[in-house]
């Protein structure tokens, strides 16, 4: 058999072939179709009714209510009613209502496993790639096609291998790595190919940090962002109740496969900040130090998982948010929030002055216009396009949870490593 990238192996399996060549267009069987209240029922139901068609396999469909919850107005209530009524009528077996953001909830519930071929009705669906599954985002009409046929076409992509050697410094995260790469290559730099991550910095990462990498490959314009599964993946799956064997030897890129390598030194990476209005407008934190902020937001699938909350708490422990700043925290899922409560992390955040919001997409998707009135927002989310977070007049700076928390303390963009050092000095 020819040497294959991990992406090629996943597509070969899904298309019933031994191997696939780059640029082949093939039809794949879908193992999992995920959608949410915004992209899902309100768009799919009218189209299914028009066709007089049903769902190809309900056991392979997951519905998550995360975008318009909690319902703040009549439009939101109408959208959620459609979703809930539809889920009830069809008796869908996998529905997660208001317990967190789809990209975080679906892996936590054990739906994504290495070797699977999955689609999501949301652009951050590449998050599933962190588990060695081929998962990518599609629009609602294409989702309709999947839901009635169970199939979808793909053009077999090239793989860009991001090789991260060394080890990240304390206070530097997966988010900083992504902002660095998006700054280098641009918001469409991957040109819909696959990005894969490997190297000692990746090996050392928790599953949630790996999810942040894969999640933000959307901002590189990749179809998905893959990480070969390892013992860390298997541990996470077992926590999620998945006990099946994973063929770790198979789900890797073969050494002789055709792919491009780009190498990085993790140990020399500084915290990064993306200035308005693009994730590609990324700079080392020092270049933007001193920029005033009025709102600091820790939220979203990208930046409010347990590990993200832990990072923010490391900065905020025994300190108070500046009086000029509102710190908003919207944990990515109820499970993350419960775990953070158990570990004292939520208390640290609240004691520092954080306001805690519901475990939903919240201000990130801009659907609620929660940040209207703020001039400068620093946020642990993935996108800062003009108007993204509701108001076109708001300037959004993207950064890691460490850097967002540090800005909340001082009212200005600052290198969080300075504050972390202070914290360890105080403890010593």
């Amino acid at each position: 058999m020819p040497a294959q990238t991990l992406a090629q192996k996943l597509i070969a399996k899904a298309s019933g072939r031994q191997a696939v060549d780059q640029d082949d267009i093939v039809t794949c069987d879908v193992d999992l179709a995920m959608f949410h209240d915004s992209s899902g029922p309100r768009r799919l139901k009218p189209m299914l009714d028009k066709l007089g068609a049903g769902i190809w396999d309900k056991s392979k469909v997951v519905l998550v209510m995360d975008h318009y919850v909690p319902e703040e107005d009549d439009d939101s209530r109408r959208i959620l009613k459609i979703a809930r009524d539809w889920a009830g009528e069809l008796n869908l077996p996998h529905v997660y209502d208001s317990i967190g953001i789809c990209h975080v909830v679906v892996p936590q519930k054990g739906h994504i496993r290495p070797g699977m071929f999955c689609v999501g009705g949301d652009s951050h669906s590449p998050t599933g790639g962190a588990f060695g599954a081929y998962m990518f985002g599609i629009g609602s009409t294409e989702m309709l096609g999947v839901v009635v046929t169970g199939k979808i076409w793909v053009k077999v992509p090239r793989t860009i291998m991001m090789q991260w050697n060394g080890r990240l410094q304390a206070g530097v995260t997966a988010k900083d790595m992504m902002l660095h790469m998006i700054g280098l290559y641009g918001t469409n730099g991957a040109d819909y190919n696959v990005v894969e991550f490997r190297g000692s910095a990746i090996d050392a990462m928790t599953m949630q940090e790996r999810m942040t990498l894969s999640n933000m490959t959307a901002e590189l314009g990749a179809q998905t962002g893959l990480i070969a599964p390892d013992a860390t993946t298997v541990d996470f799956l077992q926590q999620a109740g998945v006990h099946e064997d994973v063929d770790l030897a198979h789900w890797v890129t073969d050494p002789d496969a055709d792919y491009e390598v780009r190498s990085f030194d993790a140990s020399s990476l500084a915290p990064m900040v993306a200035a308005p209005h693009s994730p590609g407008n990324a700079h080392p934190v020092d270049e933007l130090a001193g920029t005033p902020v009025q709102v600091a937001y820790i939220g979203a699938c990208t930046g409010a998982k347990l590990e993200d909350l832990r990072a923010a708490a490391a900065v905020l422990k025994n300190r108070k948010v500046a009086t000029s700043v509102r710190l908003l925290v919207a944990p990515a899922s109820q499970q993350d929030q419960r775990d953070a409560e158990r570990q004292g992390i939520m208390k640290t955040l609240v004691d520092a002055g954080a306001q805690v919001f519901a475990t939903s997409c919240g201000a990130c998707s801009g659907y609620g216009n929660a940040l209207a009135g703020a001039d400068n927002v620093i946020s642990s989310t993935a996108r800062n396009f003009k108007g993204r977070m509701g108001s076109p007049d708001t300037n959004v700076y993207l950064a890691s949870p460490y850097t967002v928390a540090a800005a909340a303390l001082t009212g200005r963009v600052v290198d969080p490593r300075n504050i972390l050092e202070g914290a360890s000095d105080a403890a010593a």
């Binding site: 939101s76 949301d122 918001t187 108007g387």
Partner: protein
């Protein structure tokens, strides 16, 4: 072939510009009135059915929300011509019956020009006042995508399939 009037927009047009989050609760025709308003106020109101957008690189980066395609279809835009597209936007475009034409030389097409589009031959013919028309080559696309666009999108194609099953 029909002539399509050209409106020029810049590089990196994102889905939040095309379908702003603050209006996502509205019906498509109402979101369409806000399309591109953050960057090009008044453009949505000026576009007439059959017109085309000619853009810089990376058109449609960002969200999977297909309303970012739907607003242009709703305004009657026939095609977007750009040197490159977000892959997700490109798929959504064909699924909704909008031609996304990849043309490396798109910047040679000026605002106010008129274009003829031959998607199957991957060619554009550009007409400007007082000049000989010129031809630009585009990236060749698989037939199934052009079929989808000509059918008005995937839903129409599926509808024909299901109708044929009912009739059979």
């Amino acid at each position: 072939m029909p002539l399509h009037k050209v409106w020029r927009v810049g590089a990196n047009i994102d889905t939040d510009s095309l379908a702003p989050g603050a209006y996502m609760k509205l019906e498509l025709k109402d979101i369409a009135q806000h399309a591109l308003e953050n960057n090009y106020p008044g453009l949505a109101q000026a576009i007439r059915p059959g017109d085309v957008l000619v853009a810089g690189p990376n058109f449609g980066i960002g969200s999977s929300r297909e309303q970012a395609v739907g607003v242009l279809v709703s305004l009657g835009v026939k095609a977007v011509i750009a040197p490159s597209f977000s892959g997700l936007y490109f798929r959504n475009a064909y699924n909704l019956g909008l031609l996304a034409i990849v043309c490396a030389d798109a910047d040679r097409i000026p605002e106010g020009a008129q274009v003829e589009i031959d998607a199957r031959q991957a060619q554009l013919r550009v007409h400007e006042d007082g000049r000989e028309p010129f031809v630009l080559s585009c990236q060749r696309l698989p037939d199934f995508l052009i079929d989808m666009a000509e059918a008005g999108g995937l839903l129409n194609q599926l509808q024909r399939t299901y109708q044929a099953r009912i009739d059979a």
